[in-house]
């Protein structure tokens, strides 16, 4: 049976919708909401396949940094995934809400440069981004995130940013290169993970509603 080289998921199981999850965050609310069952575990990728609103959704942990994130997006897109949300973490610099909804990313990473010239903007899909804003209203705010490859390195970015992370620029640019819709929601890595609790449960369901609503719109 054909399976994704790094993720280990059977190619035939890959659905149109996926949530990629930072390993610092709990996947329990997403798995509970989708009734997900583990379909593969390989390297840093733990994959659960479930159902939301009658549609299959893959929930996959993505390891650290842009390279394994790009591998996950590539392999899933090649197998038919069309819409993806990253639930990630970031170092918040200036964010008033518990989650940041990035409307663009500074491309301080190495990965995105291997997909598109630096002139290309690292931005989420506008329809998915707007749907996430509607569904998570009150818990999220817009801001620019600076994506870097080393979080505790010296930042030299001479512009105002809301947060610093390890994945968003690569997510947005790789998604554009593969022709899939992508967006992200990020929570502060400096505060305790609340994604296992009630707030995390609400956020997980909002992400799942955004995925199905945007996919239908296409």
């Amino acid at each position: 049976m054909a399976e994704l080289y790094h993720l280990g998921v059977a190619t035939s199981l890959v659905p149109r919708l996926a949530v990629l999850v930072d390993p610092m965050l709990s996947t329990a609310p997403l798995i509970a909401a989708t009734g997900g069952r583990q379909v593969a575990t390989r390297r840093e990728y733990v994959n659960h396949l479930g159902l939301w609103d009658g549609q299959p959704v893959l929930v996959t942990t993505v390891g650290v940094g842009a390279p394994p994130l790009a591998i996950a997006v590539e392999e899933l897109a090649r197998a038919g995934m069309r819409t993806v949300v990253l639930m990630g973490t970031a170092t918040f610099v200036d964010v008033d809400t518990s989650w940041l909804l990035p409307h663009g990313a500074v491309r301080g990473d190495g990965t995105s440069a291997q997909y598109a010239p630096l002139a290309f903007p690292a931005v989420p899909d506008p329809a998915l981004r707007a749907q996430l804003a509607d569904e998570t209203g009150g818990h999220t705010s817009y801001g620019l995130v600076e994506t870097v490859d080393v979080l505790d390195g010296a930042s030299t970015c001479p512009m105002t940013i809301a947060a610093r992370d390890l994945r968003c620029a690569a997510l947005f640019v790789v998604a554009a290169a593969k022709g899939v819709r992508a967006a992200a929601v990020l929570t502060d890595a400096g505060t305790p993970d609340t994604t296992g609790g009630r707030a995390g449960h609400d956020m997980a369901e909002a992400v799942l509603r955004s995925l199905t609503a945007t996919d239908i719109e296409e």
Binding site: H103, G104, A105, V106, R107, G108, A116, P117, L118, A119, F120, P121, A122, V123, P126, A127, R129, A130, A133, Y142, L144, C157, P158, M159, T160, V173, A176, A177, G179
Partner: protein, 241 residues
């Protein structure tokens, strides 16, 4: 050339590139009055939903946008909607298609004066969503996505005429494969300038069907102007809360 410098500009500005489009935008505003007649920086005032709105032509290209919009920010404008023409990049984008820009490729020089090269030229999401709400309300079929901003018009429409033909064609294929919808000459600079100054900007462009060097051909832009003004009305209403 006259560039107005006085204080007292309203918060909201519509930005055509072509000064000739100022009059056509004014057809959709209340109490229109042209306040500066000399091209390229023709300026006019009117009202949308009773609120004063500036219509200010930017001229073509990043340097002209940087100069004119920079002055508008200094005069207190904090919400910009560019209303312009474009060429198609994606095979899925045909003549007369209206495109709302979510972001822009920075294939130009001026934006690097406002943001580092790694920064995104991205529209304000609130402006994007207002333009899309207006399009839905008007029943207009628009596309939303990334546009390409360039400094050389003829590098796009006639690459064979330039010494960089191979590079331009190769880059063009990359923009197509990255899903870029249309190409124009101002959005990336406007977005980077706005991000740098903490103000809101968006852009809506219409794909021209004819490029005619002698200048006779023209694409009707009434639907574009109506949409831009309706988008501004959406913003004004949502700012009132």
């Amino acid at each position: 050339m006259t560039l107005a410098t006085g204080p007292g500009a309203p918060r909201y500005a519509l930005l055509p590139g072509d000064p000739g489009r100022v009059e056509r935008l004014l057809e959709h505003l209340q109490d229109p009055v042209v306040t500066q007649h000399e091209p390229p920086f023709v300026e006019a005032l009117g009202r949308v939903e009773g609120t004063p709105v500036l219509v200010a032509a930017t001229g073509m290209g990043g340097p002209s946008v940087a100069l004119s919009v920079g002055r508008l920010v200094a005069r207190g404008v904090d919400t910009f909607v560019r209303v312009g023409g474009a060429g198609s990049v994606s095979p899925e984008v045909g003549f007369h298609q209206i495109v709302v820009a979510s972001a822009a490729v920075r294939h130009e020089g001026a934006s690097s004066h406002f943001l580092p090269a790694s920064g995104p030229a991205v529209a304000d999401p609130g402006v994007v969503d207002a333009l899309l709400r207006a399009a839905r309300a008007q029943g207009q079929s628009v596309r939303c996505g990334v546009v390409h901003t360039k400094d050389s018009f003829f590098g796009e429409i006639d690459p064979a005429s330039t010494p960089l033909e191979d590079d331009l064609r190769s880059a063009w294929r990359s923009w197509q494969r990255l899903g870029v919808l249309a190409s124009e000459m101002e959005a990336a600079v406007l977005f980077c300038l706005a991000t740098r100054h903490g103000v809101r900007a968006g852009a809506v462009v219409k794909v021209n069907d004819v490029v005619q060097v002698d200048g006779a051909a023209w694409t009707d832009d009434d639907d574009l102007c109506r949409l831009a003004v309706a988008g501004m009305a959406e913003l004004i209403r949502s700012d009132r809360g």
